[in-house]
Symmetry: D2
Subunit: 292 residues, 4 copies
């Protein structure tokens, strides 16, 4: 990665920071088979529908490699936010297998290749993923990202809601099909009393009895941890064949060779952290602009 | 509602269309009890944290009344999109009670007060909601919005993804805590083959064998129906008491009188349709700009 | 004028401030003669060319009445900037007649109907304008706006240059055809030494020996007074006839009755001040966001 | 220059086109003398005032080298606009010496190093500039840019006025201190009749008898040639000494060695053309989006 602008002698200069990551290991031959065929569930088709041109190389805008730039940007965003704000992500579901949240241990996240906070479920996930890989399949996942020590006040009531911007940022990650804040879809089944985060006073400060809201009320951070989850679908790039069509209208099964993970959701953990960092850094600056 | 600008003799003039809806039935006395107390789960607290001022009137930016302007804007957006594009919403879950999707009938949606497409579940919902109301409680819901006949090509690969903008728009509706496109969170549990929408040729056109993707691939519409769902939490404005604190730091239970629905999710159905219309109209114009 | 939102009990609430000024004295009959004919030099023609619809009423987007909203917004912007920053405008040229800058006296600006800082030239301007009015003509003008005590640092090196935004804001005022910062076009004829604003130290601070730059260097305010000028063309709405054509392609001279000033530039003085205030307030907030 | 993205096999792909121009001949030693001293009239001072950091290298955001990227972007913009729209610039004033507009000949522009359309004035300019150079001075200039065959309808009545965006774009070029459209500042001295562009019919089309407006009425292009001028101040980088101060508060004359043109305005001709192209391309796309 090269820093093209914005840094001089170890300090930012106020100029936009421009980062360049070259895609050096793209092997065009890997894509020979799919150059004329659309991968079902992939952007191959819609790009061609929109622009009328087929750029079949995998290294571009539709590849999860694009997310490397998000992670790089997230590293800058974290420096803007400072060390107090801690942003961490974890895989909470692999395919149909969820973690047991009572066993959540952040230290475990760095000790297994799944970013899994539940050590006990890791062996099960290993077996499961080995089977998926052996069958030439792919599988989805759910990632949770938590930002702690975010000050109250980030966001705005209608335009620029923090949860709205967070939803946009997370949904913009490749293969993401769902986003939740706090209790998310589960809150639909709760009564107002069950979903309430009761307030009380402690040492002269307002404290919360729960965090169903995931740290955001009315589009603005409350000072509680910000909790977001997003669902990643199984990648459409896999060895198992799927019925498809070619560019010139012939029916043909598609098989995708090349370097493709059976679960792209695992690599999405740092990407989700990065998007959280970018959104918070953006709102931090906007808040400082408006409020001072 | 008044049209302040942009329309002359029944036609748009090219000037921004400005609509004004006066909030005529606000009764300030209803809010007397909560003028000094924060409703847990409500933006009362975060607005005060951010701006340092308490505007306790309910008619403003934190009230679901704000969504009236969204519905009005959605009506304009539908005219931009034209009659071919059909946007319809329905309530698919009330509290813990989901519809049976095999009984989905769009005609039923206009025949019951729930916008429910499953006639058989309506009596159950009526009983359930009567109980919630009697107990002074509130309850959440899930809404599904489907846009049919949307042309392929709306959206963009990275900045301006259609699903990202849709997620932002739906998450920006009051009380929304989750957004899904297509299979959403369920896709996390699927293999790549189960989640694939196979392609084949029919009458010289590409057709899809399923719509797990909800009509969006790589941020761009595919020509399939666009399917989105969003979860609405139970409103924090209810008669049942919740522990809270006052502005000057006293602990005090909060009870919210005034005109509050036990399930704001029901009224969110046309709001979700409107946001879908606004996002599609925006992308329709942007697409026409880029592609012509 | 009504305040529609953003203010409660005399304080801003953080919500966008929405102001509504009704155009109450529009007399449609005044426009009867020009409903089908284009006024040369007026936006009549280009609006029709762009939108294909003729909204011949004068009270809208092409009328200088639109600038009332700019002045209202400028009043809010001044409150954001605070009392230290002083923004004042003056008419420095009426038709071909310029002021003598050695006689500049701000106190005179409020004592004559021209916002003229040179008392000695006022009688000449009165005679000249009476002649223009008698002949059914109109005439142009040049306005200068100066902002004092603007802190150094507002603006940005490439995107968001302060002078670029100021040029856009002033050029957007109806009938403006030219914008200058500092010495403006005169600087083209100067050598680098003549145009330099030498620096020296005084009481431990950097001071400037001149202000050819008009307070902006490299897109960023230097702490010196910000000096901008803009030229207003003569209005195309006048009694004197000009050859024109009708909507259906007939040649016809145009005469504009109705309430039209012979020199709209005079009224542009507070408008220019307001645009300066809006641009500075915007950059004040952006600067605070970036730098803190 | 490298194309980093957006082009595949000679065609644009719909992805943003990213161009990279490396600054390969920057010689840091040239800047040794000014690393601690502010050049009067230069952004040295204001960048330091704003960001509190001194990046003394000349190759960055404050160097006219930055305009190379504008010219590159302009080349892309011209491709969007198509071959019919012809954008050409010329130097119309060098220091105090103006061209004789009656001798304007576009073919001359490419035949002399000044981009001067008046062949007769070139020898005078050569002598004048040689003297400036010999004295270690610099001098300003005025550039005129004309866009022909621009269709009527580009721009918008209030937000997004074509002249406003053009003013912003031209004023954003390094060292520009003034911008005019059409007759510009001269129009202030004209009566409404003198300034009018009379309309008549010819072969069933509306034609104009003059172009005082410079092709823009009410913020929208009229179909006439778009005429803009901008003034470039003399560069502050020159051999002649100017009183200044150092970063640590010492008074010291500044002399700028290194590669600096005595008249940067000459090189600004293609930059002005490029900015015109970028603004027109942007409005072309926006117009197509809104109107279709």
């Amino acid at each position: 990665m090269r820093i093209l602008s914005g840094v001089f002698e170890g300090q930012t200069t106020g100029t936009p920071i421009s980062l360049l990551i070259e895609n050096t290991d793209q092997r065009s031959k890997d894509y020979g088979d799919i150059a004329q065929t659309y991968r079902p569930g992939h952007a191959d088709l819609t790009y061609d529908q929109k622009y009328g041109i087929r750029d079949y190389r995998g290294g571009g805008r539709s590849s999860a490699r694009e997310t490397a730039s998000r992670v790089a940007a997230g590293a800058v965003a974290r420096r803007i936010l400072g060390d107090d704000i801690k942003i961490r992500g974890a895989l909470v579901q692999l395919g149909p297998h969820k973690i047991d949240r009572t066993r959540w241990d952040w230290e475990q996240v760095e000790k297994n290749p799944f970013f899994c906070p539940d050590a006990a479920v890791v062996p099960q996930w290993e077996d499961y993923l080995a089977g998926i890989r052996k069958d030439g399949l792919s599988i989805g996942a759910v990632i949770e990202v938590i930002a702690e020590n975010v000050p109250a006040g980030l966001g705005a009531p209608i335009y620029g809601k923090l949860d709205s911007d967070l939803a946009a940022a997370l949904m913009s990650i490749n293969a993401v099909k769902g986003v939740e804040i706090g209790d998310g879809f589960a809150s639909a089944a709760l009564t107002g009393v069950e979903n309430a985060d009761p307030l009380s006073m402690k040492d002269g400060k307002v404290v919360f009895g729960a965090n169903h809201a995931g740290g955001i009320l009315g589009g603005i951070s409350s000072g509680q941890p910000i909790v977001a989850r997003f669902a990643v679908k199984p990648t459409s790039s896999m060895l198992a064949p799927v019925p498809s069509v070619t560019r010139d209208g012939q029916e043909k099964d598609v098989i995708t060779k090349g370097r493709h993970d059976p679960c792209v959701g695992i690599r999405a953990v740092p990407v989700g952290e990065a998007m959280m960092a970018c959104v918070l850094a953006d709102h931090h600056l906007r808040h400082r602009g408006q409020i001072g």
